[in-house]
């Protein structure tokens, strides 16, 4: 197996560019979620980077999903490009209008057609378009949004959490998962995760790619320092069984002081992100739309 060649030079710059591109200046409609949705709140929460990292850790535990990424994507050559592409897609589906989000999903589906093969660890054939794999990737993302917000961001009420899971179903449907297959509540999502758990394992590809992600070489010194906190937070927010699969040590309990420290690191990272061209304008576009939705919601 080839070691990763690429470094994470430009992680912030390229993620920011992807984000700016994904937040529409003049959307034709409010997209599949809209400014009043729980999804927008979770996606704009301070904890979102931790959610993103956690969801990758969860997704990689599915051997077939991991095999697809490992054998077909160029993450070793251009890890940042891969991350930026993923976050651009998520942001487009979340904030884009319906036509744009649908087009983005169609492009991903077209790529998935060619992503198929045999996993060398389990010996099983896989196809990226397989609804079972797509569903795991989806649930890992949604579960991580809830976990990160609950631990480090603005926690959701039980009703809001259920609403978030239900709202997000459309994201899986856009990639070809049937509506009735996608969990629509926190309880249903938990049951699904329990059902899949026996299939999960930490393959060599998962171990390699995730250790790269948790400790990326070539990070600027200052970003690397912040990254430690984000990484620790992501590991901390994993279910204990997932940490055990990776062999990560049980982290010390999250004290108020440590939580504040992690939130500060997220805040500094956010400020750095905001320094990239166009990010502030994109944020303001979203804030304005969410504010309007909020005031319409309370007055109407």
């Amino acid at each position: 197996m080839m070691p990763p060649e690429g470094t994470v030079t430009g992680l912030v710059e390229r993620s920011a560019a992807a984000y700016v591109q994904a937040v529409p200046a003049q959307p034709a409609d409010d997209g599949f979620f809209g400014p009043a949705s729980v999804t927008w709140r979770v996606s704009t929460d301070l904890s979102a980077p931790v959610a993103g990292l956690r969801s990758l850790l969860m997704q990689a535990l599915h051997p077939l999903a991991m095999a697809g990424v490992d054998q077909h994507s160029d993450w070793r050559r251009d890890p940042v490009g891969r991350l930026a592409a993923t976050s651009a897609y998520e942001a487009t589906v979340t904030f884009g209008d319906r036509a744009t989000a649908t087009r983005a999903a169609e492009r991903v589906k077209a790529i998935h057609i060619h992503v198929r093969g045999v996993d060398t660890v389990t010996g099983q054939p896989y196809a990226a378009g397989d609804p079972a794999l797509l569903l795991w990737v989806h649930v890992a993302l949604v579960d991580s949004g809830l976990a990160a917000a609950g631990l480090l961001g603005t926690p959701l009420t039980a009703t809001e959490a259920d609403a978030y899971v239900a709202e997000m179903r459309i994201a899986a449907e856009l990639l070809g998962v049937a509506h009735e297959q996608v969990p629509g509540s926190v309880a249903a999502m938990g049951a699904y995760i329990d059902k899949v758990r026996p299939e999960l394992r930490c393959t060599p590809a998962a171990a390699e790619s995730m250790s790269y992600l948790l400790d990326p070489p070539g990070l600027d010194e200052d970003i690397a320092d912040l990254w430690q906190d984000i990484r620790d937070a992501a590991v901390l927010s994993l279910p204990a069984w997932a940490r055990e699969l990776y062999g990560y040590a049980e982290p010390p309990p999250l004290t108020d002081e440590r939580r504040t420290g992690i939130r500060q690191a997220l805040g500094v990272l956010d400020a750095v992100f905001m320094g990239e061209p166009g990010v502030v304008e994109a944020r303001q576009r979203l804030t304005l739309r969410m504010r309007r939705a909020r005031s319409e919601g309370t007055s109407g």
Partner: protein, 486 residues
Amino acid sequence: MTGRLRKLTLAAGLGGASIAALTLLRGQQNRRAARLRLQRGLAALRLAARGGARYASNAPRLFASAGEHREQLRNDLALQTAEDVAATLGTMKGVLMKLGQMASYVDDGLAPAARRTLSRLQDSVPPMSPELAAQVITEELGAPPAEVFATWDPEPIAAASIGQVHRAMTRDGRAVAVKVQYPGIAETIAADLGNVALLRRMLKITAPHQDVDALLAELRERVTEELDYRREARNQQMFADFYRGHPTISVPDIVPGLSTRRVVTSDLADGARFAELAGWSQAERDLAAETIYRFVFRSLYEAHAFNGDPHPGNYLFHGGGRVTFLDFGLVKYFTSEELKPLVEMVKHLCVDNDPEGFRRAMEDAGFLMAGAPLPTDMIVEHMAVFYDTVRERGPRTMTGAYATAVTRRFFDFRSPLTAYVQIPRSYVILQRINLGLFALLGDLAATADWRCIAEEIWPFVQGPPCTPMGAAEARWRSGREVTAAS
């Protein structure tokens, strides 16, 4: 007499500029490695400041491009609740802005325009909604603005440090400016400064040779000062009293009954903004520059006070050199002992032409390690740039290039002096003379006989007036003495 004069006056001023020569670094063996580390560190701090700086430069553009919807947009983005304040300035954002301000006087890598952007950071935060501002007034003054004041303009006229300024009329008919602090900002920033593990790490990367605890103490002290408007009110009233009746310097009086920890009310002043000076004649610009120069050094020598926030937004210009000075949130008072070596430095170098005395004064101030194996003429040569405008008589034009050169010398790590110099904490703020005053005068391309004006102010010279403004100031000073005696 001499003793009394020294006690009364003392001279950081022009001497204070000289501290720019002295690096923040403590002595180190490997200068090249230290320089690399510092460059990386400064890059880190720049990175931290970048977010806010970009926000500052971008936000107004959004408003400008919105045309007729501008007010609506401003209103829509306004901070509506204390939670909005916490979301905007919490989790280190407010602290980063403060760090950015500190970076703006220790960093030579920022262009003047970027430095100005940084100093405008505070303007970039959206204003409070009228309801939120009214809520703060109610909490602080006991009743809503409509009851406390005869008239109240709900639209803020300016952004202020961690707050905003409203125009109002008091019940006894005084036109006032009311500065209102963002609710919850004190608690938000205090919380971030109470948990310093991350900050400590950032500063360790940023400034590996500095005493991180001292820096944190400095940051905490400064922010705490700024959060309590009562201190600012006291500072401003001190300056207002000191300059009362001055021919060109004006400081608005405080209205004590309407000033609290989070609200400060002062007389309303109106005038041209710094940007408008670009359209004024050079003669007018020279006069304005002369007033600002006199204000900075007269305050330092006589009142032992230095306003550490000399950014362009804190002046209003009225023509004929008359200037109103605003915002006294960051005032540093010097003890006689602190100022004395700075006076000695300028005296020995510029008046007595006594290099050895100059060197001794540097050592006394703690700038130069005693017994450093360096020839005195090398030290003098290195330091001379900081005294450039006052070493000789004759008209000199301030330029941006001069301000930049002074700053660059400050960061000149090739100099053999680097290993033997440092800046004691109480003098660090004076670096703002270079980045604030000299950059400002450079922007104005102001011409004057700065040496001659300095001689008027230098306590060990007390020269005769050398400009019409100097003559007017001398009359004001003698009038003040008469008043004080009677």
